[in-house]
């Protein structure tokens, strides 16, 4: 049995609104399947689960706002999932606004052995068990010890699914049922650290008083995983089709030539963006950027890169390709940025708690601006390992879904370095603001024909100004310079990208 909890979709998120469930009780789910839509200050995100199993209980009603780490659902990871988890679906009181209508019919149709009707309301898990009550329907077989424990803990045995022989409720079942209810005790610093290190607090065993999770536990978990920074999920084909994914896919297909790297909005109709959302996003960006400028001593470097070789190569490549597979200049620029980060790892990772923590792989955050204002930075996981066509495809997909508000949780978290590009915006240089806790941000301006010295003569070449904003706590100018020269060198050999 595993808990599915409200994930932290960014260092600045501490609560989320459960917008809708994409699964129902009893559905088979696989690791990586999107099972819920969570609305953050920034966007509606499809959130994946990390286990294979069956949806046992949904604990939170859509429309409920809960803190990060709150249990949203129970995924039964056991062998034989019960087809109808019946009374086990009685929601546990985790959220104040939770309603329990979903189980009303089931419970009220179950008279107990005395012929009395149980109360019309579903029994909350913590309702004291009346002493001497006969076992409710189906005569749940319960030993005296278990009954005693359940009474002590005010647990309604009807709400427990037995795992013992013949569905008996065992002592372990009672302990497990009561153990999952109290919310995880986490110190404020540990919670903050978990956000920064992308550690899923539900997976951390606390060593503090009464099992409180402390910073030391989060650090240990960060070293050993698992974190909420998963590998890219399985191909969507493996996931059961969900109604909410369809519009996203359709939107994707409907865009003939998405240009993900430009900052103008895509033509796909975005999900309705209310004033609230816009304002909330503005607020979130404001908080993050203010924090960045307050905490991070930025230093800036720039260099001008001759793109003649790269664009010639791109032109040749594109001529041999179907239109849909053509590459935009963004692809080699991003790929070079990722490879350079692999070669200069001092800029690829996080500044947390007074020291630099190198990234586990190169995960490029790509700034995508939205119609109606605002900005999202979906993540190209393992960008340094993707071939150019794969990177282009991933980029298109992410940008479209970012603008339609259908990004998945893992696609918004875990970036180790962010790239912002104003290639299509007609400005030459962008000096960016670092996305904490990352330590650097790479910027590209517009590619324009500029006069320059070529072999001792004046030539005209397509040039781009590449900039680096870096955290002076984590690196010095020499490291930044190495990064930009590496980037330049890589872009002179586009065939190797």
């Amino acid at each position: 049995m595993a808990e599915f909890t409200m994930p932290s979709l960014g260092a600045d998120m501490d609560e989320g609104l459960l917008q809708e469930w994409l699964v129902a009780v009893g559905d088979q789910v696989h690791k990586g399947d999107a099972i819920a839509v969570v609305e953050t200050d920034k966007a509606a995100i499809e959130v994946e689960c990390f286990e294979d199993g069956t949806v046992g209980r949904l604990l939170v009603e859509p429309g409920t706002r809960v803190p990060v780490g709150t249990s949203l659902a129970v995924i039964e990871t056991g062998v034989a999932p019960a087809p109808a988890p019946a009374p086990a679906s009685a929601p546990v009181a985790v959220a104040e606004t939770e309603t329990e209508t979903g189980t009303k019919a089931e419970v009220s149709s179950a008279p107990d052995a005395d012929g009395r009707q149980p109360p019309a309301e579903p029994a909350p898990a913590h309702r004291p068990l009346p002493v001497g009550t006969a076992p409710p329907r189906e005569a749940v077989a319960v030993g005296p010890l278990v009954r005693h424990l359940a009474e002590q803990k005010h647990l309604d045995l009807a709400g427990i699914r037995g795992t013992g022989r013949g569905g008996r409720v065992t002592r372990r079942d009672v302990e497990r049922a009561t153990a999952t209810h109290p919310r995880v005790r986490v110190t404020p610093y540990a919670r903050r650290l978990a956000g920064e290190l992308h550690v899923d607090l539900a997976q951390v065993r606390g060593s503090g008083e009464l099992g409180a999770v402390r910073a030391v536990d989060v650090r240990a978990a960060a070293r050993t995983g698992p974190t909420v920074l998963p590998a890219p999920g399985p191909p969507t084909a493996a996931a059961p089709p969900s109604p909410t994914r369809a519009p996203a896919a359709a939107a994707h297909a409907a865009v003939p030539k998405p240009e993900p790297f430009r900052t103008r909005p895509a033509t796909a109709s975005p999900a309705p963006v209310g004033e609230d959302r816009t304002a909330a996003m503005r607020k979130a960006i404001a908080a993050l950027m203010a924090r960045s400028k307050r905490e991070i001593p930025h230093y800036y470097l720039s260099t001008t890169v001759d793109l003649d070789t790269a664009l010639t190569w791109l032109h040749t490549h594109n001529n041999a390709c179907p239109v849909a597979e053509r590459l935009l200049p963004a692809a080699p620029l991003l790929k070079a940025a990722a490879l350079a980060a692999r070669q200069v790892p001092e800029l690829n990772g996080f500044w947390t708690d007074g020291h630099f923590e190198p990234g586990d792989g190169v995960h490029l955050g790509v700034a995508v601006s939205l119609r109606g204002g605002g900005l999202l930075t979906p993540v190209l996981h393992g960008a340094d390992t993707l071939g150019l066509p794969a990177l282009m495809a991933a980029l298109k997909d992410l940008a479209v879904r970012a603008r339609t508000g259908r990004l998945r949780g893992s696609e918004l978290t875990g970036a180790t370095l962010t790239v912002t590009s104003l290639v299509e915006q007609g400005v030459e240089t962008v000096f960016g603001v670092i996305h904490p806790p990352q330590v650097a941000l790479v910027g590209f301006g517009a590619v324009t024909d500029r006069p320059c010295a070529v072999n001792g003569l004046l030539g005209v070449r397509p040039m781009v100004t590449a900039t680096l904003a870096a955290d002076h706590r984590a690196s010095d100018g020499a490291v930044g310079a190495r990064y930009l020269t590496t980037l330049n060198r890589l872009l002179q050999h586009p065939e190797e990208l």
Binding site: T187, P188, Y189, A190, R191, R192, V204, R205, S207, G208, E209, R214, A215, V216, D217, R219, A220, A221, T224, D353, G354, H355, E357
Partner: protein, 363 residues
Amino acid sequence: MTAEGSAKHETEHSTEYGTEHKTTYREALREALRDALRADDRVFLMGEDVGRYGGCFGVSLGLLEEFGPERIRDTPLSESAFVGAGIGAALAGMRPIVEIMTVNFSLLALDQILNNAATLLHMSGGQLPVPLVIRMTTGAGRQLAAQHSHSLEGWYAHIPGIRVLAPATIEDARHMLAAALADPDPVLIFEHGALYNASGELHPDARIPDLDRAVVRRAGTDITLITYGGSLPKTLAAAEELAVAGVSAEVVDLRTLRPLDDTTVMESVARTHRAVVVDEAWRSGSLAAEVSARITEQAFYDLDAPVERVCSAEVPIPYARQLEEAALPGTAGIVAAARRVAGPTWSAADGGRSPSDGDGRVS
């Protein structure tokens, strides 16, 4: 107290002009008074028994002979009267230093301090500053029982319009007075009775302190122990014991109880993520409560454990030695609280890493 005072008189004379650097808290206070009286003709000392007797705790011994009865003035036993006279002298352009024998007697002058000294500048639209310095003895630990063992500096730290100082070291005893006299507002200096005999080296380069800053008396990485005044030596001793147990404690001496230096405290908590406040006053409504609240307000997201307080038991301080010791914060109690807050030194999940790299730092 008379017996205690006269016993001290004899030892005082022999050590007063001893080696240049080795000195006591009491001598450092006296040197500070001497400096102030020499530096500024407007400065004078006034209080019960400060002249012919040399001060109830021997601080002003010898000053009457040196500066004369005009500037070292014995007063009648009326705190309200002589604190009021001090306020009047300050208004008239003098720089009075008023000694109140112990903090419990200061309650007789509370009206003068709270309603006159602290308010006149504000009531007069800025026309009437009160540059008055009031010194008094505070604290328990000397078997003086329930009427002479209070730590009421936290009460005074509640009052806007005055500054409250608690010199805990010989350097601060030597140099805080000059800074207090330079302050245009009333300044209360609380000298813990248990510190007078503390001896040590006085660093010749020690400068007049910045009264707006708390100081880190000992650097550490695992927990911050925040204290002031008479509890500083106990807290430093606790930090020493904790170091043996593998817990690296940072000790912050507040020095100025009003206005509190939040910055130093929060910077320390941001480094260590844990805090214990040590305060000899009673726990309820104490300065320790104020410091703890500020940490929660300003450094909540840095906290890796609840803030704890080590304070006196909430009883009138007992006379019997064992009972008094049991009522006051002690080194063992501070160590125990710090260990509770620091938690297990390494977690099971950590695979038994050594305590030193198990927390606070990642290589």
